[in-house]
Amino acid sequence: MDLQALKRQESKRKISKGYMWALFCAVFWGIWYLPGTVIWVLNPFDEMYGLLAGKEGEAVSLVVTAVLITAFNALTVMLALMLWNGVLGKYGELVRTLKEFNPCSKWFFLASIFGGPIAILGSFMAMGFIGGAFAAVAALLYPVIGSVLAYYWYGEKISKRAALGILVIILGGITIFGGGLVTELAVGDVPWIGYLGGLMAAAGWGIEGAIAGKGLDISEPDVGLTLRFVGENIIWWIILVPLLAIVGYPMYSFALQAFEPLTLLVLIFAGITFGFCYVCWYKSFPLIGVGRGQGIGNLYGLCAIIFIFLFFGDVPEWTILLGGALCVLGSFIMFTEEPSELETLRGE
């Protein structure tokens, strides 16, 4: 076979594999909203919510319960990724990367601050107070935050096309948030904490991506992502959960009750889907480019709505459907630039 034919064959293989990884990411990410929603009605979390709501009010109760759920989510994601690294034989590389604190692993720990206590906690708050479809679609605003940050921090250019995409995504965001608000303001009962959670998810993931990128481009993503979740576990289990326990919330007694078969099963399901959506996402980037990888990955918003409909029979508000469609359209406009344009976007 001649050189040109081989080149075509190689690039075709790369592209089809890349799209496959990105689609897997969207499916895993979308499925994650199922266990994320179900966990709220399972013991011990529903009991914890009920108990604290009676004593401290619904808002405090929701946030404290969300902390414990997010902490368990981080734990099962880390276990799933550790298993994955074991299968790949990458423990050696894991230790080597962890030791490089200054050039590399500090970025993962920094990213975990924004990813965990802001983005994932916010997602669980939005799922608990408003619903899975809203939580999924609200987070679609993250590329806007990410590209604005990249512009200010490392002078990454925002092309006209990307700016147009950002505009469409923002319109989608206004539809998603505004649509619900209008009806709720009329009734006079607005779940502000759920909306705050939605905004936290978008802002947190945008910031996380911008920071984690600094470490991920010089490390192996399988390893880097695991370290990012090691960082999140330190934040939850060594800092925040003990802190809340000291303040007087019954964190440990409820944490111990989580070891029930059904609850554990749902938590493990959340860990596997969330862990592997990150892995698939990063596997797609070198094959089809970060832009296309993120564009396809953002189809998770639609996947989440479909899975929630299939499993729970919930049809979301038309504003969420329209807003979600606008966000996905915007991310396609933003990310599907010609490769020649993309190559010059970075560094030079």
């Binding site: 050189l3 081989l6 192996e220 560094g347």
Partner: protein, 98 residues
């Protein structure tokens, strides 16, 4: 030399001599240095090089068909050179300690 440092650091360091290198040269050097035997590790290291290239740190400058089976018979061999961005990231990561 960056022994026992993450594999991508070492790959960037090898390219910091600003010369062009074929992927099979780099892959076999890393396999030897890190004692990573077998085809699975070979492909995994090659994927690291592809990731560095897609991150804009290496540039694919030449390809030829592997006729002799020097790496993978009948597949493409790639020659890479470090970019300006790669030099910055590479020296951030590697040279700070030397």
């Amino acid at each position: 030399m960056a022994k026992n440092r993450p594999i991508k650091f070492r790959i960037l360091e090898l390219f910091l001599d600003k010369k062009e290198h074929w992927n099979y040269e780099i892959v076999s050097k890393i396999q030897e240095e890190y004692a990573l035997k077998g085809n699975y590790n070979r492909d995994s290291i090659n994927f690291d090089i592809i990731e560095l290239a897609s991150g804009g740190m290496l540039k694919d400058v030449e390809q030829r068909v592997d006729e002799e089976g020097i790496y993978k018979k009948g597949f493409l061999l790639h020659k890479y050179v470090i970019t300006d961005f790669g030099k910055v990231r590479g020296s951030d990561a590697c040279l700070r300690y030397i």
